[in-house]
């Protein structure tokens, strides 16, 4: 039995376990070493993922298969984990959180996401999703002394368990109709002659989509997101806004995209998703207009972005989807790292008023944050623009011009609230006393890398595009 496909995943799990063990033995002043352990395990895992590129490794009878798309996404998770750990090094000390559990849960969450994207079996995907979710519930409540954090954890847990229940029920129905739990098998049944996939099967598929829709915050399953985002520790919020989305969209794409390839008549599910996409873009952006708390604002913005990404799924264009996800990783991680930067011992500045006038007080943080916001708003020459360009143009090519018009109008709304943050940073005088800790090199490194990513992907995405085309070509 060939375990090479398992090695990168094992690196993370071993790292997580080691963190938990070491926590017990390390003296209190050396607790920050645990972060380095997590970093090492991430680097090792990344190394093995890169080595497995193009080899199509698999193990457990194919239940874990590293095709190229899986490798690209897993590397994205490794990068996300790297950013999150670096962001947290000082943050968790200042916010009085436990090191060992924190890093361990973070690594577990990532490994869950990796399982999700690298399995062709929907039940294993569900397993990964649960690993990711359970770790996330705990992570949301890591700020023990903050009632908001506990509230977030409880909310996320309750809603999340409902969603998981729907998902399992849906899977059961789908299994009944398709007699298979392999994604390929389900797809074959879906695309088979009419009637073979009965109404029960379609209802099951709808429930599955609802379950995933919860995790990736599609309207109308988005209600939890703003509260949880606001309450959770900021790096964890960054995790919520990035990792489940990447994983969830990848699974949805694998499962659904072939259904509407090749100009076949669109199934009802497609129209359902059409409506969901339009709603998600509209509601996410409109609700964001009224937010004064930046974490909530970014929560609604990430809901809106789910809508744009769903467009790529609807267009059945994997390359556009992957590019958007990678670009989204960089810009969102960057934006959240700027929020993490705006903290000091026991205090987080997340209100819009706190940001007034920081443009000239903390020029580098503000300038980077502004660039991330421009990217989220889709201004060229940033990654956000190119990502939107690909997704929207793919959708238009599939004859979806009306939906794209909705999308661009929605992103016009988004321009307003992103720019309003910049208005506060640069065009208003300070309104509140803001005093942040500026000695955090690791965090600045994250911001710098994300900045490079956002600009490079916006101006010269050449190599990534090549990789992505190969990755997408590998899956069908």
């Amino acid at each position: 039995m060939n375990l090479r496909a398992l090695v990168p995943l094992l690196c993370l799990v071993v790292g997580a376990l080691a963190d938990m063990l070491l926590e017990a033995f390390l003296p209190k002043k050396n607790k920050d070493h645990l972060g380095y352990v997590a970093l090492v395990s991430l680097v090792l895992s990344g190394f093995f993922y890169i080595r497995s590129w193009g080899r199509d490794l698999s193990c457990f009878g194919g239940s874990l298969t590293l095709d190229r798309m899986a490798v690209v996404l897993c590397l994205a998770f490794v990068a996300a984990g790297f950013f999150l750990v670096l962001m947290s090094l000082k943050y968790i000390v200042r916010q009085d959180m436990n090191h060992g559990e924190y890093y361990a849960l973070l690594l577990f969450a990532l490994s869950g996401a990796m399982v999700m994207v690298s399995s062709p079996n929907i039940l294993v995907v569900f397993l990964g999703l649960e690993i990711l979710s359970v770790s996330s519930y705990a992570l949301a409540g890591m700020k023990k002394n903050d009632p908001g954090s506990s509230e977030a954890a409880v909310k996320y847990f309750l809603m999340g368990s409902f969603a998981s229940a729907f998902l399992v029920f849906g899977l059961a129905l789908v299994y009944g109709a398709a007699a298979s739990l392999e994604i390929n098998g389900i797809r074959a049944a879906l695309m088979g002659r009419a009637g073979s996939f009965g109404p029960g099967g379609w209802a099951g598929l709808a429930l599955v989509i609802a379950g995933f829709g919860f995790k990736i915050a599609l309207v109308p399953f988005h209600m939890w997101a703003p509260d949880v985002y606001q309450g959770a520790p900021t790096p964890v919020t960054a995790l919520f806004s990035i990792v489940p989305k990447l994983a969830g969209f990848a699974v949805l794409f694998r499962l659904l995209a072939p259904l509407w390839g090749g100009g076949a008549a669109k199934p009802v599910i497609w129209w359902l998703l059409w409506g969901v996409a339009a709603l998600t873009m509209a509601v996410g952006n409109l609700a964001a207009l009224r937010q004064r708390n930046l974490k909530r604002l970014l929560a609604y913005s990430s809901i809106a972005h789910s809508g744009y990404i769903l467009l790529a799924v609807l267009a059945g264009d994997g390359a556009a989807l992957l590019f958007y996800l990678v670009a989204y990783l960089f810009m969102n991680a960057g934006a959240f790292s700027a929020l993490v930067a705006m903290t000091r011992e026991g205090r987080e500045y997340v209100d819009l008023d706190d940001f007034a006038g920081i443009g000239f007080k903390y020029p580098w943080i503000a300038a980077s944050f502004a660039i991330f916001l421009f990217s989220l708003a889709g201004f060229p020459p940033t990654a956000g623009f190119l990502a939107k360009f690909y997704v929207f143009s793919a959708a238009v090519r599939q004859g979806q011009a009306p939906l794209v018009v909705i999308a661009v109008l929605a992103s016009l709304i988004s321009v307003f609230y992103y720019l309003r943050v910049i208005v506060f940073m640069y065009m208003k005088d300070p309104l509140a006393e803001v005093d942040i800790e500026t000695d955090q090199p690791a965090l600045y490194l994250v911001m710098f890398i994300c900045l490079c990513g956002v600009i490079q992907l916006g101006i010269w995405p050449g190599n990534l595009l090549v990789l992505i085309r190969q990755a997408v070509a590998s899956i069908f």
Binding site: P380, P381, L386, R397, V408, L409, L412, V423, G462
Partner: protein, 524 residues
């Protein structure tokens, strides 16, 4: 040497270096920014002298693979864009120099955004690929947003958000149209391209053309701005700092007209022809409405802003008349409007630095106190009115020739611009410069200092030059304009087989040649 790339990206590079100047080194920073802008101007002069007049095709073409899938790096310059680029590179150092005193804090950041803006604008004018064009078109919003928002007046935040959102609204719909073109080209040829010349060759069904044209036209009409879409302009102009107003009025508005010229009309000639009457009427309404609004303004800056609406209306009307006189006249008038409106904004800025008010009623009798300034202001005013001997005259007369040939009724209405602009400008001049000195503060005003003379001197010289020797410009424009009109008409004629546009190109050609040889004779 890739001269055009150098021209486009030199300001950006200079700006990036500029950020790293230490905060306290203001003098060095501003000198460096000015030096960069002057260097850019020199490069653009090299382009001008290297430009061959006889050819209508794009010159200095650079083309390279960029992102792939038809999204290439493809730039070039022709007789249409050449002078708009020159106008940009000419006015940027002037605008920078003019703000040395007006912008007291954060001059480094200010200059950085000005240079960024210059790259964006030049990029728009030299792009030969629709994707590249759009990237510059949008990217240019960011520096303008900061310039108005940080260094603007009282209602700057409202003005800057309005400016960005208005412009984005149009350009996002244009983006959808670009996607459709991109997909259509792929369908038609199997390849992928967004190069202008490839898209010109694309034949589109009329129904689709209508939608696409409307999307493009909306984006450009907002930028120009055409009549009902102009409401962002007075706000942005009034609130922007002087340098911002200058660039906004002189160059940014021209991007809209340029868009019609380069994309809107030649890409969708059928649809364009269907909508030309409506658009022309809007342009005429803009001329008259802008003129009357200017008459009613109490604030000097908003007066000049509304005069822009009026003058841009004339330019658009000339563009929509689609003959060689009107098109060249429109292009020429774009330069004139850039110079004269730029100069007027600079003058208002100079006054504002002294009196800290822009209201007309707070001034009066300045000509005794500031004779040199008053003379310069007069030249700018007269140039804007179109007095013979100054640049405005040549442009206006060409425009009117062309418009008369196309539609006599609209032309008759459009001529009112001459009367209206004389009215509001001379009245402005009279109220500000003549009469008794009401406010004793004015007695302390000093005349223009050396820096201010350096700012306005070159503009005044150029106004006379363009008024007396229009051949320098028209000669290099000719071939490209002829080619452009061919592109617009040929497609229509091929598809419709009717002489839809009443004028044949050749017969009008002769008259404009005679007209020009008359002018060129003057200086040869």
């Amino acid at each position: 040497m890739p001269l055009l790339s150098l021209l486009t990206f030199l300001p950006l590079a200079g700006g990036l270096v500029l950020i790293f100047f230490p905060r306290e080194r203001t003098r060095e920073a501003r000198a460096f920014a000015l030096a960069v802008a002057l260097a850019v101007f020199l490069v653009s002069l090299a382009v001008y002298f290297g430009f061959e007049a006889g050819s209508g095709a794009a010159q200095f073409v650079e083309r390279g693979r960029w992102i792939g899938y038809g999204l290439d790096y493809h730039i070039g310059i022709d007789g249409i864009s050449l002078f708009l680029v020159l106008l940009t590179t000419f006015l940027t150092p002037i605008a920078l120099l003019s703000s040395w005193k007006a912008v007291d804090g954060r001059l480094k950041e200010f200059s950085f955004f000005m240079l960024l803006l210059e790259t964006g604008i030049i990029g728009v004018f030299v792009s030969m690929n629709l994707f590249l064009f759009y990237v510059f078109w949008e990217a240019m919003l960011i520096p303008m947003y900061f310039l108005i928002g940080i260094w603007g007046g009282q209602r700057r935040i409202y003005a800057t958000l309005k400016f960005v959102l208005f412009t984005m609204f149009g350009s996002l719909l244009m983006l959808v149209a670009i996607f459709v073109l991109y997909a259509r080209y792929h369908q038609a040829t199997g390849g992928q391209s967004l190069a202008f010349q490839d898209l010109y060759g694309l034949s589109l069904p009329p129904g689709l053309q209508t939608w696409l044209f409307l999307a493009f036209a909306l984006a450009f009409a907002i930028k120009v701005p055409l009549f009902p879409l102009h409401t962002w302009l007075p706000d942005a102009h009034v609130e922007a700092p002087t340098a911002g107003s200058v660039i906004l009025a002189a160059v940014l508005l021209k991007m809209g007209a340029y868009g019609f010229l380069r994309l809107g009309l030649p890409l969708f000639p059928d649809a364009a022809r269907t909508f030309l009457p409506e658009l022309s009427v809007l342009a005429v309404i803009g001329i008259i409405y802008g003129g009357f609004m200017a008459l009613a303004q109490k604030d000097m800056k908003s007066l000049v802003a509304y005069s822009s609406v009026s003058h841009m209306g004339l330019i658009m009307l000339a563009l929509f008349s689609l003959n060689i006189e009107s098109t060249e006249g429109a292009l020429y008038q774009m330069l004139n409007h850039g110079l004269s409106t730029g100069a007027l904004f600079l003058c208002v800025g100079i006054l504002y630095e002294r009196s800290h008010t822009r209201l007309i009623k707070d001034h009066g009798g300045l000509s005794r106190q500031m004779p040199v300034f008053s003379a310069v202001f007069l030249v700018a005013t007269l140039s804007s009115m179109g007095l013979p001997g100054l640049n405005g005259f040549v442009g206006e007369i060409l425009c009117f020739f062309g418009i008369f040939a196309a539609n006599k009724v609209l032309a008759a209405l459009a001529v009112s611009t001459a009367i209206l602009s004389a009215a509001y400008l001379l009245w402005l001049f009279g109220r500000v410069m003549h009469g008794p000195i009401l406010d004793p503060k004015i007695l302390d005003f000093e005349d223009m200092n050396r820096r201010e003379r350096l700012v306005l001197g070159p503009v005044v010289v150029l106004m006379f030059w363009l008024g007396l020797f229009p051949g320098t410009v028209l000669r290099k424009m000719d071939a490209s304009v002829t080619k452009y009109l061919h592109t617009v008409r040929q497609k229509v004629e091929v598809q419709e087989k009717t002489a839809g546009l009443s004028l044949s190109l050749s017969s009008r050609d002769g008259s404009v040649k005679r007209f020009k040889s008359h002018f060129e004779g003057g200086h040869e």
